[in-house]
Amino acid sequence: MSELYLLRHREIQGLNQLKTYTANGGFDTWKKVVSTLKPEEVTQVVKDSGLRGRGGAGFPTGVKWSFLPTNIWPHYVVANADESEPGTFKDREILESNPYQFIEGLMIACYAVQAKDAYIYFRGEFAQIAHKFEERLQELTSKGLLGDKLFGSEYSLRIHPHLGAGAYICGEETALLESIEGKLGQPRLRPPFPAVVGLFDKPTVINNVETLTNLPIILGKGAAHFRTQGTEKSPGTKIFCLSGRVKNPGNYELPLGTTFRELIYTHGGGILNDRAIKVIMPAGASSSLIPATEAALDTPMDYESVPALGAQLGSASVIVLDETVNISDLVSSTVNFFEHESCGKCTPCREGTYWMAHILERINSGKASKADIELLKTVASQMQNKCFCALGEFSISAVLTGIQHFRADFDARVEN
């Protein structure tokens, strides 16, 4: 395994205690940033590093920060700790076991855009983690690492935890902002983008937990060092969440550009009962289904290579299916998820996910005919590009690629 930057707690016992974290250089970078760097210098280092957002879209982090207008204040930073994509469990490990590196990263992001208040949006199911964070943040304030006029400078910072209550859509950044504001967590029309009109109508940066956890390393060791891992266009390491029919499911921190084969067979130990692999889902339930050919297995997992397979890297939540999984069943579980999580704001998604779920139920209970498979395809195709936010589009990825590559699995359900 390559060097660990994000999952350092696996090598350093007790890293989730402030004592241990500071004894291992924790918050040194924070002090250095506030005491010696200008905000725009911090942004420049992050731009040079090529860090891309780990929440799904892979947007360059430093570039995103530079979109904030400097004539509208205050600025806010929001950490997205809503982690709810089925198959994703990386942020939870960071929040539980390496929390201070994440907080230090969030603090650095705040300084770069001169935000004086930041929020951490935890999914409701992370209630225990959020309560612990209340203590951690108080501790940091009492140690003078957070609060007013830090290290004798003019810069002050407060971080507020905010707990959600069970809604996948609140991971979408504009729904998340609505949720903090105490409204129904439903997506906003864009533009305007949050960088200009965000939280409480002010310029706002939203970054994923893993994205932020990279920052103490980048500002500590420099952009060039960060680029020694990963590829030209996808530098750094990434936490790959491996689940499904593999022998050793879990989080694996590996350089971006590592192949699916290495993740699944070298680190994941291969397929349960040594069966044949059938499908790779690289981005959780939102994935297009990639037939696990030799060429697919040899594809590097980075933001530029996975699209060539007709899929996205997304949050790098790799769910593996073996030869015994019927794709019609699998698609029914992804569609059920999206039907349950559709926020109901727009008709194509609300109605489309409902109908897809019902047709699939008919198919899988043996009550359907071949015409129903066509109907399913039609409903999914009609949703394409018509949904208000990406959730609706995610809901059809597995349906359309499932029917395209594994039609026989659906046919088998309607033949008798």
Binding site: G87, E125, A127, H162, L184, F337
Partner: protein, 181 residues
Amino acid sequence: MNTFKKIHASEIERLLANYPPDRKQAAVMPLLHLAQQEAGYITEPVMQEIAEICEISATEVASIVGYYTMFHDQPGGKIRLMVCTDVACRLHGAREYLSALCNELGVAPGGTSSDGLVTIEEVKCIAACDHAPVFQSQIGDEVEYHENQNPGRTLDWLRLMTASMKTGQASMNLGQEADHE
């Protein structure tokens, strides 16, 4: 009247301070969590009080409660078992685990045991897919993970918990599991 406000005056103050003074509505979710800690669900009079604090209508508060799956406006069992049967967990026997568990307890998913102690719910991914079958327990507002489950292990834990509740010494630590630091 205004009992919620009175009992929790300082905590409410602290929560409001997390948001800009002219954005009291932002405190609605934290206040609902606070309310739920007590009774395990949120009553109409409390929603009314929260509406006043946040300067919004009671209808708006009720629609927030209805929108999020973890807010409850009805009492459930003292212990809520939230079993994940989502995409990744299904590939590791989560559905078989759930139905075995429901059989043993004589409760259907979504239902509550006859002694009113245990409610079982089927939930979507809870970010523990590498340790399926998995459930979260919710007791009051305390949420805890229970990973790598099988029906026997879960039933043992439940027996311990319900026994301690019946004898009135609701020592929650009894249930804390070693598999989760």
